[in-house]
């Protein structure tokens, strides 16, 4: 959906336009939110955050009369910032003081080095997961990153849960081997 398409729809029926935009970008927003809140938020927290994101997107349009360019980039930015705010809120409620803001992180050389290393590791893990091929790469991410159980995964892939477990077991073994070849050990706690 482009800025103009949204405007056209909005002029005819604001609610339909908003619902269409919501449906088109729900997965994208949810993925961003999940990526930020995975370790500290419940499913309800994430759904709440998704609501915050789309509400902010709709308000942005109301204020500006357009999205000014790349709609997806705008939604991604709003989603990312909203999720970070939610993360900080959740961490505070969890009796953990959130001390680093984004500026502080970037100003610190050591943290920059850490971030770089983390980025390399992310890239490596993603590359190796991708090398497992479909549908195993999907299944591995759904099982170990999205914490979906085998019944949910089976339903999504039209497989039996037994098949999912078997594929998952095999793919994980292969992933471990591939990681070892790259000089990494799989964290046991993450399996």
């Amino acid at each position: 959906m482009t800025d103009n398409e949204y405007r056209g729809m909005y002029e005819k029926d604001p609610y339909s336009a908003q619902t269409s935009l919501f449906d088109e970008y729900l997965n994208y927003v949810y993925a961003i939110v999940y990526n930020k809140l995975r370790s500290c938020g419940s499913r309800e927290d994430m759904e709440e955050c998704v609501g915050d994101v789309f509400s902010a997107v709709f308000l942005h349009y109301d204020r500006n009369g357009s999205f000014n360019g790349d709609l997806k980039a705008l939604i991604g930015t709003i989603a990312s910032r909203t999720a970070v705010q939610k993360y900080r809120s959740l961490m505070r409620h969890g009796n953990t003081v959130y001390i680093n803001d984004e500026t502080g992180e970037l100003a610190d050389d050591e943290r920059l080095e850490e971030k770089t290393e983390r980025s390399v590791m992310q890239g490596t893990l993603l590359r190796l997961i991708k090398s497992l091929g479909e549908p195993d790469s999907d299944i591995i991410l759904q099982k170990y990153y999205y914490n979906m159980n085998s019944i949910e995964i089976a339903d999504k892939h039209s497989m039996s849960p037994e098949t999912v477990r078997m594929r998952c077991s095999r793919a994980l073994k292969k992933l471990k081997t591939l990681l070892m070849a790259e000089g990494y050990d799989m964290k046991e706690g993450n399996i």
């Binding site: 609610y15 994208y28 961003i32 759904e47 509400s55 497989m159 095999r170 993450n190």
Partner: protein
């Protein structure tokens, strides 16, 4: 690897935007209810922030989301005419049951009301068409002082039932026998089949329970009578607080509590090490209501998530479920061996010519006729052996094979599902070269666990008659019993062969549930592989209700998927066909038209 850096999936958190898209935009599981909830949250927030009046009711099912009550999600259902209400009267799980009320509505009639004088569970039906909603809500609020849960029809599975009142035990025995005969024929991998009758729901139509062993694990299942046959009973299982799936009432263990019309079914998830357990209430019309459930996503009561595990070691959900389980008087079923009974009658000479019941014990299947026994002896003696000793049609594989020439024309020979496997045009390949490649397969085999890498064997067979034998591997695994794999030679190494299937809108190169690139086998079956070199055919038989997959391997290692008949998808010539007896019969006829051979496996050493 010592000194290596540790890496886990949490490293993917806070990825850059491109990675986030790669990780998951299309991988998450956002069902319609979740989508609707988030849309409502969005519109509420937007309305509040902008001052704009947005009709949140316009969002479908928008009123389903209700605030949490005492830490428990509660859903308000718009269609209360279909509601089950479950009210619990104490904070303690056991006491929840002890003081509970189960208000249930399904084909309501006065005789469906069961009152328990002990007050442990009271089941009351609500008359169709009454103003059930306020009554149910009122009952819940007045009877309960703690948690209050609503369950709707999503958590009931209506099962087959009959209203006939002229059913005799002889009729049930015959139905039991038919079911067990078919089971024994269809599932070549199981043995020690036993049966038991028990009228769990007191409808005077006993449920049938079966128990069997198979490679690695055993199983039990419950069936209900529909007036003609025993049919699998189903129940709704909670995947999450927002989603259910329907499953058979079957598992590693089934116990019953007839006094409360309850069935307990439990299975160990061998991957997660977590038990999937349910306590299911069965009404007089065989509808199964899932009262309590424990699985890897948490502990559920009446379909509502009560608690989820904080981590893998969190035993709270298990303990909650155990407390409920222990509050009932569970019985193990007293099974009667199916095969033994038949054999006993043969030995005692107690036979008749009609196939009707001749036993004094009404709870035992009817005895087979002499003709039936003679006809089946060959196959039945093999029934309890491992799957690899039989072919799909039940014929002892290494005893004889049969060709029904009159059925030769039933076999289709082409398919839209074609997969081109690695191959070679070399003509100078020696057996020594193939043997060396075979040894490399073993060295690189993925089952490296000491416990799993057992009894690996191999066989060569030139299925496609190209002069280069395909390699078949068989090994024993603790999890799946014997599995078999097929590999093709590409001129340098053996690689797992693949076949193509378009499986319910998700394209797979293989759907057998196991592949491991490189030199593992993509065609890998938790059962048996049979071959018919004469017609270049391969039959993957994974047992169960699955008739398997029939493949054709042409020269150039081109694999065509001719037939697939599984419990959830059937294909014929690469075209999806409906699952019905006619489809099954066509597949069976195609199988019967071929001369199937067992592979002759040898030890690697």
């Amino acid at each position: 690897m010592s000194g290596s850096k540790e890496i886990g999936f949490d490293i993917l958190e806070n990825s850059d935007m491109n990675s986030v898209e790669e990780i998951g935009t299309e991988k998450m599981n956002i069902d319609k209810k979740a989508r609707d909830r988030m849309l409502k949250i969005t519109m509420d927030k937007y309305s509040e922030a902008s001052g704009r009046q947005v009709d949140s009711q316009a969002a479908p099912e928008a009123n389903e989301f209700v605030e949490q009550v005492s830490g428990t999600d509660k859903f308000q259902h718009s269609r209360l005419a279909r509601i089950i209400g479950f009210a619990a009267c104490s904070a303690a799980a056991v006491a929840l049951i002890a003081g509970g009320m189960f208000v249930y509505k399904h084909n309501a009639s006065p005789e469906n009301t069961v009152s328990d004088p002990a007050g442990v569970i009271i089941i009351t039906t609500v008359t169709e068409g009454t103003t059930a909603e306020p009554d149910v809500e009122e009952e819940e609020t007045t009877e309960s002082e703690g948690l209050s849960l609503g369950i709707d029809a999503d958590f009931i599975s209506p099962n087959f039932y009959t209203v006939r009142t002229d059913i005799t035990q002889e009729e049930l025995n015959a139905a039991c026998k038919r079911y067990l005969d078919q089971l024994s024929k269809d599932r070549s991998e199981i043995w020690d089949i036993c049966y038991a009758f028990n009228d769990v729901n007191h409808d005077n139509r006993p449920e049938l329970f079966i128990k069997y062993s198979n490679p690695g694990v055993g199983g039990e299942a419950m069936l209900v009578y529909d007036g003609k046959e025993y049919k699998s009973a189903r129940f709704m299982s909670s995947v999450s607080n927002f989603k259910t799936v329907e499953n058979d009432i079957a598992g590693d263990v089934i116990n019953i509590c007839p006094e409360k019309s309850l069935v307990y079914v439990s299975s160990l998830d061998r991957f997660t090490g977590i038990y999937n357990s349910q306590i299911i209430w069965l009404d007089k019309n065989n509808a199964a209501a899932t009262a309590f459930e424990l699985n890897d996503s948490g502990y559920y009561m009446g379909g509502n998530l009560i608690c989820r595990p904080a981590d893998e070691k969190d035993k709270k959900p298990q303990n909650e479920f155990d407390a409920v389980y222990n509050s009932y008087n569970w019985q193990e079923l007293e099974y009667t061996p199916y095969e033994d009974k038949v054999e006993t009658k043969i030995q005692s000479g107690t036979k008749n010519g009609t196939g009707a019941n001749v036993s004094d014990d009404k709870n035992e299947p009817i005895i087979k006729t002499e003709a039936q026994i003679n006809a089946e002896t060959k196959t039945k003696t093999e029934t309890n052996t491992n799957a690899e000793t039989k072919n799909k049609t039940g014929t002892p594989a290494n005893v004889e094979t049969k060709t029904k020439t009159q059925l030769n024309d039933v076999l289709i020979n082409d398919s839209k599902f074609v997969n081109e496997n690695a191959h070679t045009n070399r003509t100078d390949i020696t057996q020594a070269e193939l043997d060396a490649a075979r040894k490399r397969v073993k060295e690189n085999w993925y089952h490296k666990d000491d416990l799993e890498d057992n009894d690996m064997k191999y066989a060569y067979a030139d299925v496609n008659d190209d002069g280069i034998p395909e390699l078949f591997i068989k090994e024993y695994t603790l999890m799946h019993g014997y599995i078999q794999a097929m590999l093709v030679y590409d001129g340098e190494d053996y690689y797992g062969a693949e076949y193509y299937i378009d499986f319910k809108e998700y394209k797979h190169d293989d759907i057998d549930g196991s592949y491991f690139g490189d030199q593992g086998g993509n065609i890998e079956v938790y059962g048996n592989i049979m071959i018919c070199p004469e017609k270049h055919l391969i039959h993957l038989n994974e047992g169960g209700d699955d008739l398997g997959t029939l493949l054709k391997l042409e020269k150039g290692n081109i694999m065509k998927t001719l037939y697939k008949y599984s419990y959830d998808a059937c294909y014929e010539g690469g075209v999806e066909v409906s699952q019905n007896p006619e489809t099954a019969a066509r597949f069976q006829a195609a199988l019967d038209s071929c001369s199937w051979q067992e592979l002759e496996y040898k030890s690697f050493e």
